[in-house]
Assembly symmetry: C2
Homo-oligomer: 744 residues x 2
C-alpha cells in the first residue's frame, strides 16, 4: 500500500471535484457571543382533540423526558426564538421545494424539523466542506421520503451539495436533490434510503463499523475513531421486519453510539397507524435490549429532545431509541396530523395558511439572515473539527505507525500492493472440492492481506464456509474481531453490510446465506447495487446440487434475476481458479456489489480455467478447432462447466471440433470489446448449447435463436443431488445429443 503522511488525506475522498471545497478559517469567538433579536411567537396548531387520548401510555420501566420548569422558561428567550425561526426555515424550505416540484413529502420535515435542527445545529460533529471527513458523526434519514428535511439541513449547515438552486430543482432531472436521499448523488447523504427499514439497518452497519474500528485502532491515549450514528425513522420503518432484525442485532452487539429518533407521528399513508400498527414499540425495543426514552412533545419540547439525546449519549452499552411524539405536517392548520400531508404538496392555499399560522412572512426558499448567520459557524467549526482530528491523527501516526497505516488504508480504500497474489491457484491435479470450500480458502487468504475485510453468515457459517480462522467473533465485548454472526436475519444482514461498506471505502464487508435466500434480502442487495456499496455476497448451495433439502432450498430463477439487475456482478465460478478470479474482481469493484453462487457439492479443478479468464466474464477453456470455426460451442457455468467439458471430450472422440466456454459472469463479458466477444462466440457459429442448473431465461442471448439452452424451468425436488440432475436431464448425454442435432 502506498503510504501518505499528509494528515488531511480524508479530503482525498471528495469525489465531486466540481463542488467548491474551500475550508473557511475557524472563527468561533465571533459566534459564541451571538445575540439575536427576539422573534414573535408563532401560533401553534393544536392537536385535534382525538389525538391526545390515543397516544399510547409508556410502561413505567422506560424513561420519559419532559422539559423541567427551568427549561421551559427558556421558551421566551431570544435563543429559543432563533431556534424556532431556524426550525421554521427548515419547514418552509421543505414546503416550498415540494410545492415547486408539485411532488414530495412535506409532512415529515414539518414534524421532524425540531429534532433535525437540534441534531445538525447542536449535536452532530461534521465538516460541511468535507462530507467525507472520516470521523464525522453519521446521520441516516431512514424515513427517506422526508428527504427535504435532510436537504434543508445540509443547506443550512453549508454543504455545497445543496445550494438554493438545488432545492429549487428538487426531484428534477439530474439534480442533487432527488426524490429520496441518495449517497451517490448528494455528498452529505451517507446511504440511500426510501425503501422503508433499510436506513435504520444501514445505521446499525455504520455503528458496527465505528465500534469495530474504534476497538481495533483506539489507544488509551488516543480515541482516533469516535463518532455517533444518528437515525430518524418513522412508523413505516418500524413496521418493516428488516428493522426488527437489525435492531435485534444492535441490541445484541450493544451499539451504544447508535441513537435512533423515532418520529412517532401516528400517521402512515393509509391513515392513522391505529388501523394496522398498535403494538407497543417501546416494549418491543426493551425486549431487543435497547435503552428507550419517550419525548412526549417533539413539536416544541426542544429541551426534552436535547435532554433525551444527552441521556442517550450517556448510555454506553446499549443503543437508544428516542420515541419523539410529533405532529406530521406541524404548522399546517388544515392538514397537520393527517395522511394528506404525508406525500403530496400542500397546495398554494394551504401553504399560505401555514405561512400565516407559523408567522412566516418570507418568500419561498428564503433563509432569514439571522438564521443564516447562526448556522454559518458550522463551516469554520467543521473545518476546526477536522483540523483537530488531523492533528490528532498525525500524533497517532507518530506513535503507532503500523496501526495508522492500516487505518489510513481503510479510510482511503487503497488496497495493499500485490494483495491479489494472496489468492490461491489450482491445477487440474488439485483435489476436487466444493466451490463453497474454495471460497473459504480465498476468504482466509484475503483476510491476511485486506485489513478491511470482515463479515459473516446468517446462521450458516459452517455451511457457507465463511469463518475467518485467524479471527474471533465480532461481539459486544470483542468488537475488534471480524467474524460477524448475523443470526437468521438475511435482510438485516445485507443492509448492515451496506452500512459497513459505506462507512469507509476500505471496509470490505461480505455476507452469506444459501443462494435461494437472496429472496429474503433482495431489497438490500438492490440498494448495494444502486448505492455503489461493494458488498460481497457469498451465496452457497447454488442449485439442485444441494439435493435433499428440496425445492424450498433450491434456487432456479436466481441467477437470471441477478443478471437482470443493474450494477451488480453475478458470478458462478466452476472451480478453484474461477472462485479466486471471482474474488479478485469482487475486491477490485468497490462501487459494485458481487454475488458469488457457490456449490455445496464437490467439483473437479478443470483444465483451462483461470483467474484472468474470470475477469473477462466469458472465455474459452478448451478448443480443438482452428480459425475460430468450431462445429459447436458448449457453454457452461459453475458446476455444469464440468458437464460441458465432459460432453466435449466425448464429441471430440467422434471427430467434432468443439469449443467449451465458461460464462462465469455475463456482466463482465458484456463489457468486453466486440472483437473479444467475436473471438469467443463467433457470429457465424450458431450451433451453441448451454447448460446451467437453473432457469433458461435469458440464455437465448448467448445461444441465439438457433442454439439450445439446457436448464431447469420448474421447481426442484427433494432427493440426492445426482438423482435430480439425472431426472432433470442436466447431463453430458443431453449436451451431446443437442450438440449433434445442431451441428449435423
Amino acid at each position: 500500500m502506498a503510504s501518505t503522511s499528509s494528515p488531511a488525506f480524508s479530503h482525498a475522498l471528495l469525489s465531486r471535484p466540481s463542488l467548491p471545497s474551500t475550508v473557511a478559517p475557524t472563527n468561533q469567538s465571533s459566534l459564541s457571543s451571538l445575540s439575536l433579536p427576539s422573534f414573535p411567537r408563532i401560533k401553534l396548531s393544536p392537536l385535534p382533540s382525538s389525538a391526545a387520548h390515543r397516544r399510547r401510555i409508556p410502561s413505567p420501566a422506560r424513561t420519559s423526558v419532559r422539559a423541567s420548569a427551568t427549561v421551559e422558561t427558556l421558551g421566551s428567550t431570544a435563543e429559543t426564538a432563533l431556534v424556532e425561526k431556524s426550525i421554521n426555515t427548515i419547514r418552509f424550505l421543505a414546503i416550498d421545494a415540494v410545492e415547486k416540484a408539485n411532488s414530495g413529502h412535506p409532512g415529515l420535515p414539518m414534524g421532524c424539523a425540531p429534532m433535525g435542527h437540534i441534531l445538525y445545529d447542536e449535536v452532530m460533529r461534521y465538516n460541511p466542506k468535507n462530507p467525507y471527513w472520516f470521523n464525522r458523526d453519521r446521520f441516516v434519514l431512514s424515513a427517506g421520503h422526508g428527504c427535504m428535511l435532510q436537504y434543508a439541513l445540509l443547506h443550512l449547515a453549508g454543504y455545497d451539495s445543496v445550494r438554493e438552486e438545488d432545492m429549487k430543482e428538487f426531484r428534477q432531472w439530474e439534480s442533487r436533490t432527488p426524490g429520496h436521499p441518495e449517497n451517490f448523488e448528494t455528498p452529505g447523504v451517507e446511504v440511500t434510503t426510501g425503501p422503508l427499514g433499510q436506513g435504520i439497518a444501514n445505521a446499525v452497519g455504520l455503528a458496527l463499523a465505528e465500534k469495530h474500528l474504534a476497538a481495533r485502532f483506539n489507544k488509551p491515549d488516543s480515541e482516533i475513531v469516535d463518532h455517533y450514528t444518528y437515525v430518524i425513522l418513522g412508523d413505516g420503518c418500524q413496521m418493516e421486519g428488516i428493522a426488527n432484525e437489525a435492531c435485534s442485532l444492535a441490541g445484541h452487539w450493544g451499539l451504544g453510539k447508535l441513537i435512533a429518533l423515532y418520529d412517532d407521528n401516528h400517521i402512515s399513508i393509509d391513515g392513522d397507524t391505529e388501523i394496522a400498527f398498535t403494538e407497543s414499540v417501546d416494549t418491543r425495543f426493551e425486549g431487543l435490549g435497547w435503552h428507550v426514552i419517550w419525548v412526549k412533545n417533539g413539536n416544541t419540547g426542544y429541551d426534552e429532545i436535547r435532554a433525551a439525546i444527552k441521556e442517550a449519549k450517556a448510555v454506553k452499552d446499549k443503543p437508544t431509541l428516542i420515541k419523539v411524539t410529533t405532529t406530521i405536517g406541524y404548522g399546517s392548520p388544515n392538514k397537520a396530523n393527517s395522511y394528506s400531508v404525508h406525500g403530496s404538496a400542500l397546495g398554494a392555499k394551504e401553504v399560505d395558511a401555514t405561512r400565516q399560522n407559523l408567522g412566516w412572512p418570507y418568500e419561498p426558499f428564503h433563509v432569514p439572515e439571522d438564521v443564516k448567520k447562526h448556522w454559518s459557524r458550522h463551516i469554520p467549526d467543521g473545518a476546526s473539527l477536522e483540523a483537530e482530528w488531523n492533528a490528532k491523527f498525525a500524533e497517532y501516526e507518530n506513535k503507532y505507525r503500523e496501526e495508522a497505516a492500516e487505518l489510513k488504508s481503510i479510510i482511503k480504500g487503497e488496497l495493499p500492493a500485490g494483495w491479489e497474489k494472496a489468492l490461491p491457484t489450482y491445477t487440474p491435479e488439485s483435489a476436487a472440492d466444493a466451490t463453497r470450500n474454495l471460497s473459504q480458502q480465498c476468504l482466509n487468504a484475503l483476510a491476511k492481506v485486506l485489513p478491511g475485510l470482515l463479515g459473516g453468515s446468517a446462521d450458516l457459517a459452517s455451511s457457507n464456509m465463511t469463518l475467518l480462522k485467524m479471527f474471533g467473533d465480532f461481539q459486544k465485548n470483542t468488537p475488534e474481531e471480524r467474524n460477524v454472526r448475523f443470526g437468521v436475519r438475511e435482510h438485516g444482514m445485507g443492509a448492515i453490510c451496506n452500512g459497513i461498506a459505506l462507512h469507509s471505502t476500505g471496509l470490505i464487508p461480505y455476507c452469506a446465506t444459501f443462494f435461494v435466500f437472496t429472496d429474503y434480502m433482495r431489497a438490500a442487495m438492490r440498494i448495494s447495487a444502486l448505492s455503489e456499496a461493494g458488498v460481497i455476497y457469498v451465496m452457497t448451495h447454488d442449485s439442485i446440487g444441494l439435493g435433499e433439502d428440496g425445492p424450498t432450498h433450491q434456487p432456479i430463477e436466481h441467477l437470471a434475476s441477478f443478471r437482470a439487475m443493474p450494477n451488480i456482478l453475478m458470478f458462478r465460478p466452476a472451480d478453484g481458479n474461477e472462485t479466486a478470479g471471482a474474488y479478485k474482481v469482487a475486491v477490485l469493484n468497490r462501487k459494485r456489489p458481487s454475488v458469488l453462487a457457490l456449490s455445496r457439492q464437490k467439483l473437479p479443478q478443470l483444465p483451462g480455467t483461470s483467474i484472468d479468464g474470470v475477469a473477462k466474464g466469458g472465455y474459452t477453456i478448451s478448443d480443438n478447432s482452428s480459425g475460430n470455426k468450431p462445429d459447436v460451442i458448449l457453454v457452461g457455468t459453475g458446476s455444469e462447466l464440468e458437464i460441458a467439458a465432459k460432453a466435449a471430450d466425448e464429441l471430440r472422440k467422434e471427430g467434432k471440433k468443439v469449443r467449451v466456454v465458461s460464462f462465469v459472469s455475463w456482466e463482465l463479458f458484456d463489457e468486453q470489446s466486440e472483437e473479444y466477444k467475436e473471438s469467443v462466440l463467433p457470429a457465424a457459429v450458431t450451433a451453441r448449447v448451454s447448460i446451467e442448473a437453473g432457469s433458461t431465461f435469458g440464455w437465448d442471448k448467448i445461444v441465439g435463436s438457433r442454439g439450445k439452452a439446457i436448464g431447469i424451468d420448474r421447481f426442484g425436488a427433494s432427493a440426492p443431488a445426482g438423482k435430480i440432475y439425472k431426472e432433470f436431464g442436466i447431463t453430458a448425454e443431453a449436451v451431446i445429443a443437442a450438440a449433434k442435432e445442431l451441428s449435423s
Copy 2:
C-alpha cells in the same frame, strides 16, 4: 354456482385419488376404557450444567406454567408411561428416517416430540382420512426442517399420506416425505415451510381466514366455522423479520385462536443462540400484543404443556405464544443440546447410544403395538368429528340457505357461473386511465360476485387503488369485512395471503404494494408459486413512469425476475381490457399466483386489446400486412404498448406493413400451440422491435438474434416521468428508427 346438498362435500377436495380414503366407523367406547400396561421409566438425559443458568428469566408480567403437585404424580401412572412411549416413538421415527436417508434434521423432532404428541394426540381436531375436512384445526411446522416430526405425527394419526414405506423414503425422489413440509406433496401438511419465518406468517393467514369466515357465517345457534391454528416455530423463525411483521399483525387483529409454540432450545446452526440472539422474545411478544406463557420444562413437563395450551385457548382476544424450553436432540447422550444434532444424521453409534439411553429396544421404524393401538382411535374419532360437523352443516343449510351456499362455494372453490361477466370492458373511446385505477374497477366488480375475494395493501391502499368500496376494514372487532390493512409489512403480507389461499380453495386473497417492493416479499411470492397458492399480487407504480420518487422506487429488473420464476403468471396489462383480462386469468388460476404490474400514469384504451387476447399471453392488436408477412413486428407491454402502436401508425404512413403485438404474459404465450405462436411471431419475420420500460434481459427470446429490444438496463432517475422516458429513449422515435433499420 352449482349447488350441492351433500353434506359430505368436503371429501370432494381430496385431490389425491391414489390414496385410499376409507372412513372407519366410529368406535370411541372401546378406546375410552383403554387400560395399558405400565412401561419401564426411561432414563432422562440430563441437561448440561451450563444450560440451566443461561435460560433467560421471564418478566413477572407473563405467565409461567409449572406442573402442579397433583399433576406431577401423574408421571408414574400407566397413562404417562404410554405417553412417553408414544413420544419416543416419534423421536425414533425421526431418528431412523434421517439415519436411513443420511440427511435431515433429527434435533427438532427429538426435542419437540412431547408438544407434538400432545397437539396431535390430545388437542387437535382433525380427520386423518380426510385431510381437507374444512373445520379441522390447522397445524403449521414453521421450523420446517424438523419435518420428520410432522411426518411421524401424521403417520401415527393414521393419515394415508405417510405410511411406513413413505418414512423409509424420506428425502428421496418422488416420495411423499420431502426434505421440508410441502402441502402439494403430502396431504395433511397445510402449507410449505422450510424458509424460516414463512410458516408462522402463513399461520397468521390461516387464523385470519378462520376469524373472517367465522364472523361472516357463524350464527348464534351454530358455530359452523370454529377451529384453532397451531404452530411450532424455532429460534430461526423468531429471528426473521417476517415473523415479527406477521406477529405484530396477529396481535393487532387479536387472533385469539392462533397458538404458537416456540421451541426455545437455545441452539441454531452456528451454535448457541447466545452468539446472535439475546433479545427477550417474551418481552417483544408482549409488546406485539400477545399473551405469553413460558413452559420451563418442555422435555418432560407434559402437564405444563397441557396447562399452557389450555390457558392459551382460554385467552380469546389475543394470540398466544407458548415459549417451550426444550433440549434439542433430547435423548441423544452425546449430541443433545448442541448444533451437531440440528441438521445431520446422528450416526449409527449415536443412534445406538440414544436407543440405550431412552430404553428403546425396537427395530428402526417400529411403532410398538400399544402405541399404535392408542393412536388408532383418531381414525374413528376423526370420522365422527367430520360426520358431526357435516350434520351440523346440513342443519345450518336448512336454516341459512344463502349463507350455506356461499360458505360452500368458499370451501369448494367453485366460482359462481358467469362471474367473469362482472369484469368491465372498454372501447378506445373510454377515458384514458392508469391501469392501477382500472385494476380497482376490476377488484370492485369482482368483489360483488366472488364471495372469497379479500385483501389489501401494505399501507398503500390509496396508491395501489385496492380498496373494496362495498366493504369496511377487516379489524379485530370487524373481522367480517374484507379490506385488510397490512401496514408497511410486505413480506408478512405475502405470507399471510399464502395462508389465506391455502385455508380454503375458494378464498382469493390479493395484496398490493409498489412493484419494486416485491423485493421485500419475493420469498413469500416464491412460496405462493411453489405451494400452488393462487394469490393475486397487485403491483402498481410499475416502471420509471412513477416519476419523481426516483430509482429506489422504480422497478427495472422486476419483470424479468418474475418471468424467470416457475409457476407464476407475470402480467403487464396495457389498458382496461387487458387489466380485466389479467384478472380473469388470475381468478381462474387458483393453483398459480399472478402478479399484475400496473401503471401509476394514465394510459389510453387501445384499439385491438381484449380480455381474450390476454388469455393467450401474446396477441396481435393491429396489423396492416397480409399473409403473415409484416415488414416488421413491434412488440410492447403495459404502458409501452401505446408507444408501439404510435410508432406503427407513423411507419404505416410511410408504407410499412407493421404488426403490433401485445406481450402481456410470457408464460401464457409459451403455453400456446406452435401454430398459434407462428401466427403471432412468424419465424420468417426477423425484423422485430420490442419496447418495455424495464430490463431488456430475456427479450432476445422474443425479438431473436436479429431483432432489437428497447428497454432500460440501468437504474432509474428522479424526475417527472415524461422527462425520464425521453432521456432514457423509451420513445416512439426510437421504435421507428429501429424498425426502419431492421426492415430496410
